[in-house]
């Protein structure tokens, strides 16, 4: 196990208000500083997760998202800026995150998750945040995280609803236990308010902080669903599937 890095006086000052969180403290902060988190797509959900993780002081973020900022990204993609329209999303994101917290190392990749890059990206991280708008990317990321035994936080939304679960390979159900087939009806364009995507992104970031710092109880084996139309939140147990093609043999 890597030795935890010390915190500089500037970091101790920056994180002062979270160092008093019960069961977190300086050791939790040093664990965050020591960690690398991969975020797959930095749109409304993943971008907010990255923002929260940068604020919290994760040591290194790897951000993967292809394409340039478009006008209709700006209702929800909080790392993008109006003057960044037409420029790569990852550049806009890196600029925003560095402005927020220069202590965080940011690595960007102007690509989405694919068979060509997923193994190497997962190998270099400690935790994955999965927030792509397509199931083939999510299922691919899930497969690789399970194979490499890396925890994965799957965060998804639609309209005013959100869903979150944490995959601990071999211990809790993986995404393929829930979705054994690529869902045929899902469309890439979905209705979204930033307040909803940001909510699920923030919840995902909290899961990551908990996993890294050993704080609280992660959502492994449980699915959190919420519907902001009536502000209802529920948490239901979910089970591993023994015949799961991805994690059934673990």
């Amino acid at each position: 196990m890597r030795e935890l890095p010390e915190l500089t006086p500037d970091e101790l000052g920056r994180y002062e208000w979270q160092l008093t969180v019960r069961d977190f403290g300086e050791e939790g902060q040093r664990r965050l500083k020591n960690a690398t988190v991969l975020v797959s797509r930095i749109g409304g959900v993943g971008g907010t997760a990255a923002l929260q993780l940068a604020a919290a002081g994760v040591g290194r973020l790897i951000l993967a998202h292809a394409g340039d900022v478009r006008l209709n990204d700006l209702n929800r993609q909080l790392l993008m800026t109006t003057d960044g329209i037409g420029w790569p999303r990852v550049e806009s994101a890196m600029r925003r995150l560095r402005e927020l917290n220069p202590h965080v190392e940011i690595e960007t990749m102007n690509e989405n998750i694919s068979e060509a890059n997923v193994a190497e990206l997962v190998r270099r991280c400690d935790v994955v945040v999965s927030a792509a708008p397509l199931f083939n990317e999510r299922l691919l990321m899930n497969r690789e995280a399970v194979w490499q035994r890396k925890p994965l936080v799957d965060s998804a939304m639609y309209e005013l609803e959100g869903r979150l679960t944490t995959v601990i390979p071999g211990r809790s159900p993986c995404l393929s236990c829930l979705y054994p087939e690529p869902p045929p009806n899902w469309k890439r364009e979905f209705p979204v308010f930033s307040a909803v995507s940001s909510t699920i992104g923030s919840l995902a970031a909290m899961e990551v902080v908990k996993l890294i710092a050993g704080l609280g109880e992660p959502l492994a084996g449980r699915l959190l669903t919420f519907d902001l139309r009536d502000m209802s939140f529920r948490k239901v147990p979910i089970a591993r599937q023994s015949d799961c093609a991805i994690c059934g043999s673990l």
Binding site: G44, S155, Y179, N185, L223, A239
Partner: protein
């Protein structure tokens, strides 16, 4: 027996309502509910059933406060006043 069915996400959009109550004969299984709903709401059929009429494996189902796999729908017996929540897969990111 009477059941309360709640629709989430795209199912709510295509069916156009958040919930409804349905009547089924005693001893009905979860698969019977999905078949009846697919017949009643043809626009939602592909969310509920596969092309061969089997429960859609990627449909998440909660009965009261317990998740039930669609693969177990044919053996999951329901009781009067159960609340069945149907959650189609979502991946908004």
């Amino acid at each position: 027996m009477k059941l309360r069915v709640q629709y989430m996400a795209q199912l709510r959009t295509v069916i156009g309502q958040a919930e409804e109550f349905i009547e089924l004969s005693d001893g009905s299984r979860l698969s019977d509910v999905l078949i009846q709903l697919a017949a009643r709401h043809s626009v939602a059929r592909s969310h509920l059933l596969t092309d061969t009429g089997q429960p859609r494996p990627s449909l998440l189902i909660i009965i009261n406060e317990a998740a039930v796999s669609a693969r177990d729908a044919a053996t999951t017996e329901l009781r009067s006043n159960d609340v069945v929540t149907l959650l189609p897969p979502i991946a908004g990111g």
